[in-house]
Assembly symmetry: C2
Homo-oligomer: 335 residues x 2
């Protein structure tokens, strides 16, 4: 197998039993569809919290192939049963809104930590041999002390969400070291693509920009000079599959990221250009968000590239194009 | 005021309203007694979990002066009421056993994180102007990459307890930065002295050594070569009072520690020498504990010394002497 290539679909995924938590969400559903296409036996769990990313339409057309369980990792009596005999577990469930984590820290803690610990304990009992991939976040680095941010960068979360995701990540790595689970942690940067939440800015600010653009309203850019990097969701799915395939990857965190870096203002302009119309309104950063803002951010993904050969294949323009095209058709299903 | 000196008792503590969580425990009760002696109006909260450090005898002689509330930070309906109008909050409550945190991670999470977040949220509402001092731990550094360990050392907890204490610490510092609470974090090393838990090794292994020695049984030393540093509980109380007095201390973690470093075998020998009798049995490190062992550890406390003038005043020998003397008299109350 060439470095960076995905394992041969037939060998690797056919009839593999895969569980995806948060599997009706943006990345989870994209992963579920891909794995199902590759022949895996996919089960997804989602609690369908209205403020999160879960959406039934995300698995449209797969209802005969993907088994969907609407349950909550924190409370479900079926969790152990669902985990039994799984070969792979992609743990994508989480609360992603930074601002919500500050307004309602208990819920963030409950979903991003309490539920995660329960999942790991159930894995120990019922799926000790499964490969486990955890979707972590660049948010736990906090305000970058240098750029691009690599995995040696100090971890200083600026909000409750970052603290809680850090805990969950540490649990995964601890359970690998002490209890022998086969776990891998990917720290995702901004991920974009079809099926992302566009109702509001809870998953990524870019979601609400897409909606505004398609509804003919001005895109509101806070500040505008901040630099960011973006991964297309299909590149993230590639990374997840590579991480799942290689049980020899060390149990350390790996950044995803992109070498394409762009300011928010330029990003908004690029989206307007691709869409062919639109308006941009730059406003001062809201006071409440300023307190938890991280300034410029982009990732160094050298460690993961060296270990697996992964690198993003979709350009930012391509990704924005196909995202806008998707929502032009499917907007009514997402608002 | 000289650097390192405590503020004038009459000016600083008289009639100050002080709340101590975990106030029937080892350090909490020592702090409560000191503050009461200094004229403060002390309230303590303790949930008296049998496996933790709380002990009614720890406040023997103070029942007319210290108000004791047996309640749990996680569930108490009175928490907001107890916090109202407090000038100072010493947050000492916690689960301390590393091994228990691995056997029952949910309870550790609940006590060391969920309860802490609840306390902070209540502080925001009912005591936003209070000074808050949080007792953190050296455990969150994990296995030292260099010695002595300073606050720039990477944070890589080797057990659930370390992960959870890190979360709680990060919450305190976040609430200081974002919500304007006046919070301070001290990372304690091994603390010893009268009133520590000696029934077993849940608080510190030295507790069970004291008990064995006084009961005429051999001290069991695991490994023996590991280096450690120890603070006398009165030095830790000094540090707590200094941290509470100076609201200008930056909201960053501060190590406590000692420049006296000793191997476990030498420590056991020193205790036997002070006691005048005793036996030492060196055994291999138990497999279960080896997985979460941190090897050699001692702290650099330069940052806190530079900021406050604090340094330990009690030698290890003095501390062991007075500890053994205390338990010679009070052993029946603690087993």
């Amino acid at each position: 197998m060439t470095a960076g290539a995905l394992p041969d679909p037939v060998d690797a995924w056919l009839e593999r039993r895969v569980l995806i938590t948060g599997g009706l969400g943006f990345i989870g559903s994209t992963l579920a569809r891909r794995l199902s296409d590759l022949g895996a036996a996919v089960t997804v769990i989602d609690n369908m919290m209205p403020s999160h990313g879960g959406h039934h339409f995300n698995l449209e057309g797969y209802s005969d192939r993907i088994s969907v369980h609407l349950c909550d990792l924190r409370y479900s009596d079926s969790l152990e049963q669902l985990l039994e005999d799984q070969d792979l577990i992609f743990n994508m469930a989480g609360q992603t809104s930074h601002l919500d984590s500050m307004h309602d820290p208990d819920t963030d803690l409950s979903i991003n930590v309490v539920a995660q610990l329960r999942l790991l304990e159930c894995c120990r009992r019922k799926a000790p041999g499964a490969r486990l991939v955890f979707a972590s976040t660049r948010q736990l680095y906090g305000k970058p002390q240098y750029l691009p941010v690599d995995e040696s960068h100090p971890v200083e979360p600026v909000d409750v969400n970052g603290i809680n995701k850090l805990s969950a990540e540490m649990y995964h790595l601890l359970y690998a070291k002490v209890h022998g689970l086969s776990a891998c942690v990917l720290r995702l940067t901004n991920t974009i693509g079809p099926r992302m939440r566009i109702r509001d800015a809870r998953q990524t600010f870019l979601g609400i920009w897409v909606r505004r653009l398609l509804e003919g309203e001005a895109i509101e850019v806070w500040g505008g000079e901040q630099l960011r990097d973006f991964n297309d969701v299909d590149d993230v799915v590639d990374a997840m599959l590579l991480a799942a395939s290689d049980r020899d990857l060390p149990a350390v965190p790996f950044n995803l990221g992109s070498s394409e870096v762009i300011s928010l203002t330029d990003l908004a302009r690029l989206m307007i250009q691709i869409h062919g119309a639109g308006e941009l309104r730059i406003t001062p950063y809201p006071e409440e968000r300023k307190k938890i803002d991280i300034g410029d951010y982009y990732s160094c993904y050298d460690r993961f590239q060296a270990a697996t050969g992964w690198q993003p294949k979709r350009s930012l323009s391509q990704s924005l194009e196909r995202t806008l095209a998707y929502y032009k058709v499917n907007l009514p299903n997402y608002i």
